[in-house]
Symmetry: D2
Subunit: 416 residues, 4 copies
């Protein structure tokens, strides 16, 4: 980093931890004016301690923003609507938070007149991509400093020990607790665990790893039953059928689903996934509330949407999941996909009843003012205006090309 | 039904129950020579009692065939490979059995020189379609008699009472047990429950409904851990890590997975699905072994397949599921889809460890001789020949069109 | 047809030709009160002669409606936006007209209080489906009379001769001109030719068959150059660069494109297509104006849409084409698809210059106020803020999983 | 470029032109031992002059390989089978040649023991990606030198003038002819033209630009009729119906199609396309033979493949086109896609007759021993074993969910 950048202002995504503290000091050392930024996306963090630490280390300013409500309403909610799962399994808690954080941070960069933003994401992961694609989309001339991709940084700090040395040397307070032998990312939607001892995909995750969810074996022996109401595909009310607890505000509702899901051990997965960067990576995730809501939404969607419309929408869902995972939230295609998905949800209204028990989410029933479900039509005991003979014609016509095909193949075979 | 069909031979799919017994007698009454056919696909049935009953009622012959092994190897296995779920949730136990049964039955029809086959499926369901499309595909000149779609039959037998009356009149033995207030289809892979009191999609399924699986609340407090080995995407060994039980033959292995899954309450779903015929229908399913194997296969597949290859393969999976559900097993497109899916599984070899507990299936770890997972490459502590700076270029190039897009949009907005 | 339908009112899609005249008389004979309906979708027809003939034959009323403008604006335009081609080649002139005609006719049925509609489409084609699905969608209790599917009709009228005999007997005026040895469907968008001598897919279509287009060999030796302007993906202006002729009203513009395309022999295709009913069918089509506009729209769309957005939109286009071809215009999925496609066209504004010559449409250039095309960025001579080194990183990261894959395969092979 | 690479061996893709001659000298200047490589993919080139020039400039060896046959059989043929068009229009002549050339060159690098390969592709284009992804796939430890992405190169040679100066200084023979104001890539399949005056997407391509094809206005007034035979989706014979000329060897056949197509002005397109790198680029292409064969193959494919099988296959085609365009020929997903596509072509056998005239390719008819086309079944005059009444049931059942949908929407609207 040359002298020319001296006094240039950078907004640094700062957590208060060892890595970003070292980066903060290193940026100062390289002549930057550093504004630290910390978004509250629901992680458990001592925000004021982080603020104090940033000040001590030399940040010219510390901006802490609570973006929990927008995280739920503008990022998690669209993903519920989109049945958002990456590679069929991962509810994308981290991937959804990144554009939310990046957007808040870019806003600060604009307000502060900073031409640079910096982050502590590694050079092998998805988060650097998610962060930077969002940044470039929202501020096309912003420049990104990613120390873990700069040779002058990563050849200097080859491992955790080098950071410790640097911290000691620079008077950066060291973490008091022993670091877990894996890395963590936490927010309102989930906690992810990866690397360290988890890098061996055969190693079972230790029981003590999990933070948001009770071990299913230790979860209550009595299930909880929830009634979840959706309007236009978005959760608008959760009622605990046992004690009547009711939540209607988006953030409250989501936190409550986390609480119930967490208590019952819901939403744990252990997967190997394909990073955008091209490598396979093993991750453990716990997504208690999200798992409940995804399950309920899916149920209501099949109940209320026309079959063929839903088939088209499910292809858009697949696009959505990949866009989010890969960091393209603010891309033209992702904006378009979300608009199309939103269009599909006009009639996804109704209530789903779910039982939560020992790690499982069980649908018990559903109701909707707009369901295409017609109990009379489907009934085996009611004829209605359904003509069974029509089905014969339907089958015969569907068989037409198959019979032609088999007839041709048979004639070819017999001719040999 | 006119006089001209007298003495014509028909093969009837016969279960020994009230409906098909009445159909048998009705066919005789209409001058047919009736060969009854009963396939053993793993349902619990008193086959000899059914044989005796058919003889008493006047069938000229009763053919009972055990097709369990081919059901597993030729129908369930391809579906495991295809991660076969209809509308994201239903493992298609019934849909997979139908073409297996139809194939066996058409073979009998050919052997018997019968120009007709008959079945007792209703005129509103999927099974008539699955049965008949298979029949037409495998025997292009066969004629199908579907009494529940013939006005002379369904106007005569308007409900269960009419069948009872007819049975009494014709000396057909009546069922000794009270019929459940829902209908059932059972085979090795699953039991399905629908109609009757289940037609109201809000009604919770009663606890006593389930046959294959223990109620999760009543399941053992201690999990079972299984190690499942796959070769080319097919299960070839299951080992119970607690007691060492090992199964390697396809049928044994599948039955054992059912046993363990059933004991732990695995594989229950309550869904509304979209029938091919166009109506929504509510079904309860329990698929214990299938659910375990689907979960393990999915895990190994992501672990061993290249990301982009798998994305293409997953679209084929979606085609597969719809083909199977709709009854097109023997169609040109389904044969093609299965061949393509099989091609993708060449390297899906390895072992997945799963914990089964109180209704849940939890992946604990996986290993493969062919995994593209590279622990060194992904490690945060090892540089390897990965150049972090490359990621910067990767991101910048990916951002190119997004920045152009946002720049254009911004210029348009500012120009207004 | 039983006595109970006597005096019941039916609206018959009536062309004035032999078939529908016979059907008109046959319906009267069967006791119906027949209102004849004829939509002007741009076919060349002597409408007043048809009106007179209907009156003579006994129709209680003849309704003739000019739906040309709505055909262009509400059916052809959405298809231009959707780059509407069935099986990659057929611009669907007939398929687009059917729902337009059916909608107008159902409106008449409602106004007339008719509980029946009737049409003369054959029982093997697509048009019966397009017509009836539209009818059922727009009037869920309407009943459709399709004589060519009624045994009492089609066993009585086995061929053209039987119709001739019936016409003579009933005093129906016979056609004065010799029928072409193929059947025709004509409207503003195209003329289709099928059956008769065309049924042999090897037979070349005779030169005299074509009506809308000049034989390319006989077309002018001098090309015509058109400038076509689009707003939101819809054509809004066509200018003939040679003589300055300008058209801006949708219907005028489309007719003018037909005129120019027709003069230059544009839009002829000879294909075998797959009918919804399951059989393959050979058709010859000429779609002069539509071909020009589809070509121009496609060009502008690639020019103005983001690459990835367009990829998603193209999948919706494929759904659109199939929905239209199969007759599902008024289905939930088709309404949804059209809404999503419309959303994608917000910035498809600009002008495309095309040369039309001897059957070909050649794009000469294009311009747009919203194009993402950035001449400076793409220039080989201008560096801009593009960093060539980024491309190296981009490639390396894209190569990552491929190298892993090849490394693994190589190690497996060498190990054998 | 540091001293450590001195004496290291590099294989340079060398054309004999100014750019790669300068790169050759520059590599020598930087201490490399340079083996030049030139693949004959059908471009018109004075190969021996290039060889002499390389020797004069100091290459230690010049390898010239004729890969035309493998280019046709292993790259163009699979693309014909896949109906290979990028973004619906571009037949990908350049994209198909790159992996062919790269494979030959990597083979040379292995034989020569070279650890480096170099090329003269620009840093903004697709070819660098196609070349390098192929190289990395086939030789996972190869290192690529791409001078136009190296700051020490591209900051030294900012434009054509700098290359001229360098050439003069180093004694590199200067081109004797004036360079066209656009750049060209030529091979057996096509010639592409881009950049320079073509960078303005509104500028019409000048008539003199085209090399492979006659201007349609100047093409013969008499069409040529070809009969093209396919086996398993690959062209195996072309017969000129006018003069009886017959070609059966892949390379001969393709060259002959080029000749006929070129003479009649077939295969010119002017498009804006989306590069993988993210920018839009304008290109003019002429692909005479490829356009004829793609058109004929498409026709035969619809004729011989089952409708639903083909729908699935067409999605694979879309994957294929994107894989090829983006340079992923040797990726796992592309290998898989090609295998699946090949599977689909088992019965794509038969003959297509096409007329070629003034820029157009017109299908006149087709025949196949395996077609699913059944003239009797589709005939309007033959009943066959088709029951028209079945179509009524087919339509009614298809209408079921649409009627339900409209009924629900109507009841909601009326309730408001």
């Amino acid at each position: 980093m040359s002298a020319e950048v001296e006094k240039k202002k950078v907004v640094l995504a700062y957590s208060g931890g060892l890595d970003t503290s070292c980066i903060l000091v290193w940026l100062l050392e390289n002549g930057y004016d550093v504004v630290t930024f910390l978004a509250d996306v629901g992680q458990s963090e001592d925000f004021e301690a982080a603020r104090a630490k940033a000040a001590i280390l030399g940040a010219s300013k510390m901006v802490i923003q609570d973006v929990k409500t927008e995280f739920v309403e503008e990022f998690i909610w669209p993903s519920i609507r989109a049945n958002g799962l990456y590679e069929d399994r991962y509810p994308m808690g981290t991937a959804l938070a990144r554009p939310c954080i990046a957007r808040a941070m870019i806003k600060v960069a604009k307000e502060e007149g900073a031409k640079y933003v910096a982050h502590g994401a590694t050079g092998k992961g998805n988060d650097q991509i998610r962060f930077e694609l969002s940044a470039y989309a929202l501020h096309s001339t912003i420049e990104v400093i990613s120390p873990w991709r700069l040779p002058e940084f990563y050849t200097r700090f080859k491992g955790r020990n080098d950071l410790f040395e640097y911290a000691k040397e620079k008077g950066i307070p060291l973490p008091v607790t022993q670091k877990d032998p894996w890395s963590i990312d936490a927010n309102l939607m989930h906690i992810s665990y990866e690397s360290g001892i988890l890098e061996d995909p055969q190693t079972h995750a230790p029981k003590k790893l999990y933070v948001m969810t009770t071990h299913p074996e230790d979860a209550p022996d009595v299930p909880t039953v929830l009634e979840i109401e959706f309007q236009k595909g978005l959760p608008v009310k959760v009622v605990n059928k046992d004690d009547g607890t009711t939540k209607t505000k988006a953030l409250d509702l989501f936190i409550y689903c986390n609480e119930i899901g967490g208590k019952h051990g819901v939403g744990r997965i252990d997967i190997v996934e394909n990073r955008f960067i091209g490598m396979k990576s093993r991750g453990i995730y716990e997504t208690p509330g999200g798992t409940i809501l995804l399950s309920a939404h899916m149920d209501l969607e099949v109940f209320t949407l026309d079959r063929e419309l839903r088939k088209i929408k499910r292809k858009l869902d697949a696009e959505f999941a990949e866009q989010v995972y890969r960091g393209f939230w603010f891309s033209p295609e992702a904006e378009y996909t979300r608009r199309c998905i939103a269009l599909s949800q006009d009639h996804v209204d109704g209530t789903v009843t779910v039982k939560v028990y020992k790690g499982g989410v069980y649908i018990l029933g559903r109701a909707s003012p707009h369901s295409l479900y017609n109990a009379e039509l489907v009934s085996m005991n009611v004829q209605g205006d359904y003509e069974p003979t029509d089905a014969g014609g339907f089958i015969k016509i569907n068989a037409l090309r198959i019979r032609e095909y088999q007839r041709l193949r048979a004639s070819e075979t017999s001719g040999k």
